[in-house]
């Protein structure tokens, strides 16, 4: 498999020094800038989550005051949502690989790409700046629900501005990908010969463009309301807090699909590669991405069933919510069908992909519980919700993020990591994850409210299991990260195509040269997943 890299410098060697990184317009370097910054914020938020779980190991005060607890869970949510999950896969792996897998040398607007990283960093510093300025980080929860967000003394304005700027960054990234995919595909790559990763990124980008501006303006209204006391959302001044919730979820529900669709794209790449079999139902997967993007707009009020929504509205939104499950299920069935009779090669990326299918299934099915009006009223604002969205967001996006790291690590750094350590780390992460979040589903059904600092003694067992789970999970993640650093330093050299994949990224050296390809990329006959040698 090893091929000599002839004469070409890879993109790391092309230029050196700090300026060559922070002023770069190379999509690969920008992707890595994102990776290092997003990785840092992710670990910070993991640490906050660790503190939260530690506090909850026993009833009453354990390590922090109630107010600190409120601020920490808000900061944990804000960082995880706005700084990790939303930009994570598109800004890192999308940036690095979308141009490569459609066979071009950069995104359509390389400079705007860099601008969006700077916006991201500005937003990030504002979000973390709440730790040091004003009355400390917001204590409202990441949703900034009015009227509390208007009244609390903590530094909500700064967190909200951070979210606004991050939204702007996300819009520019989305815009860049749409134009890139429209304009820069390799000749012969028609829409239905694009890799599915490109399809899901395309769908994601549309949601980013269509939904983000609404939340942007809503958040600015919160700032204005706090500064001038207008009474848009504050009922004591005659405002309508429900209006805020509508405006917030009009964006924030579609944003859920901004988070999950790129992850589904990565899965659609990993599974055929390791099953050595053509993807089952290519068009169905591609179109279901667009269907999710479309349907995702009409379900926002399912976050609001307990607000006194009219029963007609509740019924319609509940029905629409069930409709979203259909394209999602289409994908799951197609992935499983792809594995059927494949020559499956169990490598770490495939393990993560399998874990995703399993965990996301739990996340999706518990989602239907929330989507059903009657059940939702029972589980609303309980730890069941916390369990549900961690299964979808962490079990979905987070796990795929790890999977994508394992899948593309050899391509990005040109080194192989140790499979044995990777497998052990995977096992720890999988066990820790389930131990951490499954008990939340149980205690939620028993009625334990979420975001509570204290709880009655009978809930201690599930809470202790959760906390111990968080330790296992963190050990697994540390081991995984150690494995990457170890590989980068003294891993074996990676060939062009370590997994035998058919994507265009595997035709170029590892790491790729500055302009991505050293020879013309050749499209595979009969579609991007046509694994002829096996089937």
């Amino acid at each position: 498999m090893t091929e000599e890299i002839t004469g070409h410098k890879n993109f790391f060697e092309e230029k050196k020094g700090l300026a060559s990184w922070i002023f770069t317009t190379d999509h690969k370097r920008i992707a890595l800038l994102y990776l290092y910054s997003i990785g840092f914020f992710f670990l910070a938020a993991v640490f906050l989550g660790f503190l939260l779980r530690l506090e909850l190991i026993a009833p009453g005060k354990t390590i922090m005051e109630p107010q600190t607890y409120n601020q920490i869970f808000t900061l944990h949510g804000v960082i995880m949502i706005f700084l990790f999950i939303i930009p994570g896969i598109p800004a890192i792996f999308g940036n690095f690989f979308i141009p490569i897998i459609i066979g071009t040398d950069d995104v359509a607007f390389p400079r705007i790409n860099l601008v969006s990283w700077y916006l991201y960093m500005t937003g990030a510093f504002l979000a973390l700046g709440t730790l040091f300025f004003g009355e400390g980080p917001a204590d409202t929860g990441w949703t900034f629900y009015a009227p509390y967000s208007v009244k609390t003394g903590t530094n909500v304005s700064m967190s909200v501005l951070a979210a606004f700027i991050l939204g702007f960054s996300s819009i520019l990234t989305g815009l860049n990908f749409i134009v890139t995919i429209h304009r820069l595909r390799a000749s012969g790559m028609t829409w239905f010969r694009m890799p599915l990763m490109a399809w899901s990124t395309y769908a994601t980008s549309w949601i980013q463009i269509l939904a983000t501006p609404i939340v942007g303006i809503t958040l600015l209204m919160i700032v204005a309301e706090r500064s001038f006391g207008i009474g848009l959302f504050d009922p004591s001044l005659g405002g309508d807090p429900i209006l805020y919730q509508h405006l917030f979820w009009i964006y924030s529900h579609p944003a859920v699909y901004v988070m999950i669709l790129p992850a589904m794209g990565v899965i659609s790449e990993i599974i055929p590669t390791f099953a050595h079999r053509t993807i089952f139902g290519y068009k169905a997967i591609a179109m279901s991405s667009m269907a999710i993007a479309f349907t995702g707009y009409f379900v926002w009020a399912h976050h609001m069933f307990t607000t006194g929504l009219s029963s007609t509205a509740a019924l319609i939104f509940s029905l629409a919510t069930f409709f979203v499950a259909i394209p999602t299920a289409i994908k799951i069935f197609n992935w499983v069908a792809t594995l059927y009779k494949g020559s499956i090669d169990v490598k770490p990326p495939l393990l993560y992909a399998m874990a995703f299918v399993f965990l996301f299934l739990i996340g999706g099915l518990t989602g239907l519980v929330n989507g059903a009006i009657a059940a939702d009223i029972h589980v609303h604002d309980t730890t069941f919700i916390v369990g549900h969205f961690h299964y979808t967001m962490f079990g979905g996006v987070g796990i795929v993020f790890f999977g994508a790291m394992h899948y593309w690590f050899p391509k990005i750094w040109g080194k192989m990591y140790n499979f044995k350590i990777a497998n052990i780390a995977f096992a720890l992460i999988f066990i820790g994850f389930n131990a951490l979040y499954f008990p939340m589903l149980i205690s939620g059904l028993q009625g334990l409210p979420r975001r509570y600092y204290d709880y009655p003694a009978e809930f201690q067992l599930t809470n202790v299991i959760s906390t111990v789970g968080s330790w296992i999970l963190i050990v697994g993640m540390i081991l995984m990260i150690y494995n990457f650093f170890r590989a980068k330093k003294r891993g074996e050299k990676a060939p062009r195509n370590p997994w035998g994949g058919l994507g265009l990224e595997w035709q170029t050296p590892s790491p790729p040269p500055l302009h991505n390809f050293d020879k013309m990329p050749e499209l595979v006959e009969g579609g991007p997943y046509n694994y002829k040698d096996n089937y």
């Binding site: 066979g103 950069d106 995104v107 607007f109 820069l184």
Partner: protein
Amino acid sequence: MEHLVLPNSGLTRDDEGSKLGMWLFLYTEVLLFGGLFIVYTMYRYLYPDSFLQGSYHLSIPIGTINTIVLLTSSLTVAMGITALQKGNNKLAVWLMVATMFFALVFMVNKYFEWSAKIEHGLFPGMDAYMQLPRGETLFFFLYFFMTGLHALHIVVGAVLIGVVTMEIKNGKQSSTNFAFTENAGLYWHLVDLIWIFLFPLFYLIH
């Protein structure tokens, strides 16, 4: 070593692509204001009388002048683009400068309009404002918020056109390379278009 140059490179000039990007961006701008229009609609529906009372505080003549000014500036920028496409760079520069001049006139008008309101204490948080009935406070909040955001767009648009003017002058924009000028023009038309909605909503509807 030479780099492989792909025919579909992202680094070469792509006018179609940059226009597509601009249209998408304009779409996000429409949605940004769309959120505010939703809030306006809802509160207008809840407080029709107060919104009417509020609109009596606004000066229709100044609003009309600003509307004419903006519409004319849209004309000049469109003519400027055509002049550039036809190769008459000098005229194009003049028309762009005229556009910026109209932007300035608009902002000066806005300045006097706003300062009159602020003198009467009608800015959110001021004394007279706090005495207003509930619906009127919302009216004035939305008035300042929406026209303020619009004014910000005027400034950004004028700066963009300033950059365009410089680029025409030093030959970067020309009759064979005018995508950036067109994009700046598109942005300017959007700013104009938003005003076309703001003007009747705040000044005219009775």
